[in-house]
């Protein structure tokens, strides 16, 4: 009788990579619901467009590379949903499709597909469409009206648009939005990134599920808050400035979902901490000096380039003594 051979250990953890993606997809549901309450069905359709197109493009990309499509790991779906939920509710349906196409075909597939991409595909896709079609970004409808947006893109010109908190921050002066309004998401902004209270709950859920790591998200938010406190752009005191900076735009959303993408973040705790601090610094610099009112996706692309270096440096810094001792004994 011949038995099969396998490497130890013979007992594997039942957790799968796809479950991490499933967690992420689950927490998008409440965000979509909140958006649907404010704007009607249109934002949900936009998110679904992003999801479907990303999955389709990924399948196509794998077929093009003559490899077996591995959609089941869910990374493409997450990319699509991320792009879909960071566009304005007023954007046309082809916008998330274009973003997903760039994310998959220019950023993910050429690097070798899932697990090998250097840059976060969602951030790159979003950055590309932001750069190419800035007209569709940063114009947001007024959520206070409670009227569902028209489903067809042609009727959108009638919709009243408001300037978002991020735009107000960029222009300076007094912010119009109270901390309560910011927490409830009752302010104009991208589809999924406004409901701050829900976002925080999602973050907590993901932290508990260990899908995202506290080593990145807390230093990131702390750096952003510190910079907002040191260099306020609006009048309204310390709290007002910090709240406005942290809740506006998609700073928190990117911190939770994009920065924690395991493929493009460091693995060592010290590297992760440095990564979070650097990301916070870049995000705030993009806000202070950037061309757009919100540049978190550009900042994330920038900091992704440092991920591997920070990882090694962090590990070497922690284990310096051990390595030196080893070198002496050798």
């Amino acid at each position: 009788m011949n038995f099969k051979m396998a490497h130890a250990p013979h007992l594997r953890c039942s957790e799968r990579g796809s479950q991490m993606c499933a967690d992420l997809l689950i927490v998008f549901a409440p965000l979509c619901v909140i958006s649907a309450i404010y704007y009607g069905v249109r934002p949900v359709l936009l998110v679904l467009t992003g999801l479907l197109s990303a999955v389709l493009f990924e399948t196509f990309g794998y077929l093009l590379m003559r490899r077996k499509p591995k959609i089941s790991d869910g990374s493409a779906a997450v990319t699509g949903v991320l792009i879909g939920s960071l566009v304005s509710p007023l954007s046309p349906y082809w916008l998330p499709v274009a973003g997903a196409a760039f994310a998959i075909f220019a950023v993910k597939m050429p690097m070798g597909g899932s697990g090998r991409n250097l840059f976060n595909p969602a951030a790159a896709g979003l950055a590309a469409v932001t750069l190419c079609f800035p007209g569709f970004f940063f114009t947001y409808p007024d959520p206070g009206l409670g009227i569902p947006l028209p489903l067809s893109s042609r009727a959108l010109s009638e919709v009243i648009t408001l300037s978002s908190p991020a735009a107000q921050l960029a222009s300076g002066g007094q912010t119009l939005y109270s901390p309560t309004m910011l927490l409830l998401g009752n302010f104009p902004g991208p589809i999924g990134a406004t409901a701050i209270a829900i976002l925080l709950a999602c973050g907590l859920f993901l932290l508990v599920r260990r899908t995202i790591t506290p080593y990145i998200i807390f230093p990131y938010l702390a750096t952003c808050a510190l910079l907002a406190a040191l260099f306020p752009r609006v009048s309204g005191g310390l709290t007002g400035s910090v709240m406005a900076e942290l809740c506006s735009g998609y700073l928190l959303f990117c911190g939770i979902f994009m920065l924690n993408d395991p493929v493009t973040a460091p693995r060592h705790w010290l590297g992760r901490t440095a990564f979070g601090v650097l990301a916070g610094l870049f995000v705030m610099l993009m806000r202070y000096f950037g061309r757009f009112e919100e540049g978190a996706c550009f900042a994330i692309l920038l900091v992704n380039a440092f991920a591997t270096t920070l990882d090694r440096l962090g590990w070497y810094a922690v284990n310096l003594k051990r390595i030196k001792r080893r070198r002496h004994s050798a």
Partner: protein, 220 residues
């Protein structure tokens, strides 16, 4: 004075062909060695600019390489760089006047600082100051031509694509595209294009290598 040993040269066409193909394609100066990227990113926006930059590069690189190949090993190291830089600057001065007066004032103005910068481009200093000094004039000249052509090929392809994408024109002629992406004129688009072209080149080479391996296995 540092004495430089000239690389042996067999005086056959095959070797010249190899040098040419190496620098032009298999070790393309831009796509593989990553030299001379700056003008492509910043100035390679329209095909006209691309062609002008190619011509300027060739005009600088050919005499510089020839000169360095002939006299480079007789000069001390510290004096080489100033000599070919000053020479290149003089040539470019003439080229600039020619371009400004008799071709197009606008083109000259739009090339901005990148035309004079060609004199101190890494492409010139690397090929003329490095490769040519240690090679005989024939090889050095072949290499200079191949470098210019390799650089020209890349910058022309990139600038033509970017011109079409960002302005909807090619060589100034309107092409009537439905969608125009003005943002393609930003440097990141050139980075992307260069990345894809480099990957494409690597892919072609890997296919060739695989075929050669297969034929070696069949024969041996």
């Amino acid at each position: 004075m540092s004495k430089v040993e000239k690389q042996p040269f067999s005086k056959t066409m095959t070797e010249i062909k190899n040098v040419f193909l190496d620098t032009f394609l298999t070790k393309n100066i831009v796509l593989v060695q990553a030299i001379g990227i700056t003008p492509i990113l910043a100035a390679g926006v329209t095909l006209q600019k691309g062609v002008v930059l190619t011509l300027c590069t060739a005009a600088v690189l050919l005499p510089a390489s020839l000169f360095m190949s002939l006299f480079g090993d007789k000069l001390p190291t510290w004096v080489r760089a100033p000599i070919y830089s000053v020479g290149a600057a003089l040539i470019l001065l003439g080229a600039a006047v020619l371009l400004d007066r008799s071709v197009s004032n606008e083109l000259y103005a739009s090339l901005y600082v990148f035309l004079p910068l060609t004199a101190v481009n890494t492409l010139v200093s690397y090929r003329a100051g490095g490769f040519s000094v240690s090679h005989v004039p024939v090889v050095a000249l072949t290499d200079a031509i191949a470098s210019s052509l390799g650089f020209g090929l890349v910058i022309c392809v990139v600038s033509a694509l970017r011109e079409m994408a960002s302005f909807g024109t090619l060589w100034g002629e309107t092409l009537n595209f439905a969608i125009v992406l003005p943002e393609a004129a930003l440097p990141y688009a050139a980075f992307l294009l260069l990345g894809f072209m480099a990957a494409f080149l690597q892919w072609i080479q890997s296919v060739i290598a695989r075929r050669e391996n297969a034929s070696v296995r069949l024969n041996g």
